[in-house]
Symmetry: C2
Subunit: 557 residues, 2 copies
């Protein structure tokens, strides 16, 4: 009854499938084919190896008790065979065999089940000079070692990170930690496309505060230097550079699948069903090479992540062994550390939701992540996105010094369950002052959203209000914070009436034109708006997120 | 159209109802009746005020921008009236009026809607000597001030905390922080009844490591002293004491409701429907005085928490103003900080689940809360409880230095949605190395549970194995950790065969009697068990949680 199971790819999903198949069906013969040297290493840990947070390369490829996961380990402990430095070159579906090539020549391996865990490769754009010494990507142990070697040579290098995605941002932090001066160059208007622009801007500001130069809307035109990189030519000028890291994204490795005629999804990744089967029943695929379903939209997507690879690997192994298991897809959760900022999101951004055709409502809810009286409280900026029609949550974003991922995981669960905002606002989360406010930030945000969906609050983005100011629109810009807060910092051209005085000072708030009320975070702004509406004012708005989210000029002191 | 809304109780739910009613229906006349001096204070913050983490009492009763929430504030800003030092003595339901009593005499207030937010009061058992100076509860600002005054007199007091519940544990930490020697006396076998015993024991050990003497299974018989407390007499001997804190729980304040003939639930708290209406349609109730529904069991429960009070207050206000809103109940989430330990749980404990008649499966899953190569990784002990029949999650517990509440919030969401373990194991949570392992702890735990529910793993509690050892049962106690781990620490009487050698050393593992395999956390123990089963062994168990959860003797070095 011993079946031949062949797995192509030995980094993340591959070893997971192999180990789990051997646990499920110990009589099977499992072979993992790996092109490179290294197996089962934690690629996501590479930025932390570069910065020295992780001391030794070997820690990234060890078990929690320190055993290195090499071919011998897998054979002895997990009872499967690994052939590294071996490339899979073709699938012969009719004969059910895989052609492999290594130093010892070509070979044909018959399989009962074949699993493709071929991963993804970094996209390297055709920038002139990309081949210069000192230009790296960060995809694999070799890159990390190269970068570390350069860093070891001298301190305070000028580094240019091309691409403001997750890896670019993580690498930037690592390079700064190693004493480098870093410039991040991003072609789009904002870094971190996992976020909407108002949240991305907060992150950019934090990076700037940490000494990083963030150049958005900037295109890299060439990398120049004599033998090694010396400068980067961009659409916004030249940047001196001793090292360049290109991290503009990855592309699934699908040539083996394509050559074999397997179906490829619209995203360019391998198409699989819920069992992780490709269009050939005997061929499965998992990890960074497959397309998965976005549960929120029901559409295919390509979101390569280590967490997904592990779960998919398990589903493959179960199905290969006849244990029913289904991978439902993702909701789009991700998190990254950007210096002291925690940046997390799940579901759709507002931009994505609009592109998908939803009738979108949003809310911005900045607040301390614990009761204000706890010294450990830290600011956290939340944004929720909901569908006006169904009142369902569509997405959530959190950035700031506070605990972002804790809130976003809760929102991710709401997305998995298709919760509407009204249910979501009532969930029973852990509460004690060292952990969260009595109304957790995500619940407070859900309540702001309910107020909006119920028509009690008409929100305006700070950006929109800024546009009103700049275009000279005739409206009352009403600051209802306390005199002390106003003295500390305020926005020019506002009318300042502390909330407690609004009811008695209606005379000084003109009728017949729009009023935009705000405070620090716009909870009091909301209360002021309600007072005005109760007093017969008609065109009353709240500036979402208050002074904290205002990106225009502020008068300090 | 101005209605008279009267709210009894001004601490948590009361002011919430009042403020939200005024936002919803600004034309209403809202009056809050409060027996005490203080309004709208954060009772949950009191332990942190005692320890000095919160510097000033006033911070607990201020808005986030520092405005004290007194009667004047509520009148001016929120537009409702507060009458403190005023007691509500009777409800006249037929006339729809409330009798109140203050220094100025008795008065009859007519109402359109009445809301009871009468809270709960600490249970003070009839212990002789409970009236002595130096005996405190911790329920209100006055107690906190009394305790702080005693602490200010001298350092290194002997304190006895009676009752090992959430408040007792939080107070213990605060007292130790203030330099006191603390003994905790708990009548039951373990502290923290929110946890099952194996999780509570870990917390007790942590408290002991922090210098607290934890006396479980111990009854307080008397408090003795001349004028002020000097010692506590317990079933396990005398304890010298300069101060005693009694925190054995709270009881809902329902006399006003009972006298008016309103329905009371089985738990002794006021019975309300999903709209938070009592058995009188014009009388609502919210907060620590009401019974709520446990969503997991569908049964009534009494779980007074500030987070619940706030949400219920909002539901009352919406319904009072004709905005449909339903409070669904709780799932039983709570968290507390115990020195460096984070202790959280949701749903049912195993004990509760068994008492409810479920066919219970459990699993213990200790693991670092981040990838093992991240220096910021900290140990976290997880326990899941599931229903064998439906495979639904019933509860989760987490204790340790790692982030407990993050995982338990995710489990709470799964309970809200009635997720089964198979769905739960596939959820898309935020992943990056500074935050969690690629397979988050709660997902890894769910997979252990799936293995058990699928019959792949037969678990034994460390306690059960300990009993087997102590009663001389004939079985093989198989330690599959590495030689280095074994040298560092091991359990007497075990057979040590590292996992990698199990397949080749089957000869030394006797057949025909039970084998209990384990490792550090029992993942390798599980693999060993599978190897043995594949080799024809029949009676094979895994010791859940491994060495980390073993409470018996350990040989160090």
């Amino acid at each position: 009854m011993s079946r031949k199971i062949i797995i192509v790819g030995g980094v993340a999903a591959g070893p997971k499938v192999a180990a789990k198949v051997m646990r499920n069906c110990p009589e099977d013969q499992v072979t993992v084919i790996e092109r490179g040297e290294f197996l089962s290493y934690a690629g996501c840990g590479l930025p932390y190896y570069v910065s020295g947070v992780v001391k030794e390369q070997k820690e990234l490829m060890s078990t929690p008790v320190g055993t290195v996961r090499d071919a011998a380990f897998f054979q002895k402990v997990k009872n499967f065979t690994v052939r590294n430095h071996t490339e899979a070159t073709a699938i012969n579906r009719e004969e059910k065999s895989l052609t492999i090539k290594s130093e010892t020549g070509e070979e044909e391996l018959p399989y009962d089940k074949l699993i493709l865990c071929t991963g993804a490769s970094p996209v390297i754009p055709p920038i002139p000079g990309r081949e210069l010494h000192g230009v790296y990507k960060l995809h694999g142990v070799e890159d990390a070692e190269g970068i570390k070697a350069v860093l070891a040579e001298k301190k305070a290098l000028n580094c240019v990170v091309v691409g403001g995605g997750l890896i670019g941002v993580e690498m930037t932090e690592s390079l700064v930690a190693m004493g480098c001066r870093v410039t991040m160059v991003e072609m789009l208007d904002n870094i971190l496309p996992i976020l909407d622009s108002e949240m991305a801007v907060l992150t950019e500001q934090h990076m700037e505060a940490k000494g990083v130069k963030v150049m958005t809307g900037t295109r890299v035109e060439a990398i120049e230097g004599e033998g090694k990189v010396e400068k980067v030519i961009t659409s916004a000028g030249e940047i001196p550079a001793d090292m360049v890291i290109v991290s503009i994204g990855v592309r699934p490795n699908v040539s083996l699948a394509t050559d074999a005629g397997l179906d490829i999804g619209d995203t360019g990744a391998i198409l699989v069903n819920g069992k992780m089967q490709t269009s050939d029943d005997d061929i499965y695929a998992a990890g960074d090479c497959v397309e998965t379903i976005n549960i929120v939209t029901g559409k295919g997507c390509f979101v390569p992540l280590g967490s997904t690879a592990n779960k998919q690997g398990r589903v493959v192994a179960n199905n290969v062994c006849g244990i029913p298991d289904t991978y439902p897809g993702i909701v789009g959760s991700s998190v990254c550390k950007v210096f002291d900022f925690n940046v997390a999101r799940t579901g759709l951004t507002e931009k994505q939701a609009l592109a998908e055709g939803y009738e979108v409502e949003f809310c911005l809810a900045p607040a301390p992540d614990k009761p204000h009286f706890m010294p450990s409280a830290k600011p956290l900026f939340l944004k929720l996105i909901a569908d006006k029609k169904t009142r369902k949550l569509l997405g959530a974003q959190a950035v700031g010094l506070g605990e972002a991922d804790k809130r976003i995981n809760v929102a991710a669960m709401a997305l998995h369950c298709g919760m509407d905002i009204d249910e979501f606002a009532q969930v029973d989360l852990c509460y004690a002052p060292p952990y969260s406010p009595a109304m957790d930030n995500i619940i407070a945000a859900a309540n702001v959203m309910r107020n909006k969906l119920n028509g009690f609050m008409q929100g305006l983005k700070p950006d929109t209000v800024k546009e009103w100011v700049e275009t000279g629109k005739d409206f009352t810009f009403l600051d209802v914070r306390s005199p002390a807060e106003y003295e500390q910092i305020h926005i020019n051209g506002t009318l300042h009436i502390p909330l407690g005085a609004v009811r008695t000072k209606l005379d000084s708030i003109p009728r017949g034109k729009p009023v935009v009320a705000f405070c620090k975070i716009s909870l009091r702004g909301y209360e002021a708006a309600l007072m005005l509406k109760a007093a017969g004012y008609e065109d009353v708005y709240v500036m979402d997120g208050g002074v904290l989210m205002w990106q225009g000029e502020k008068v300090v002191g």
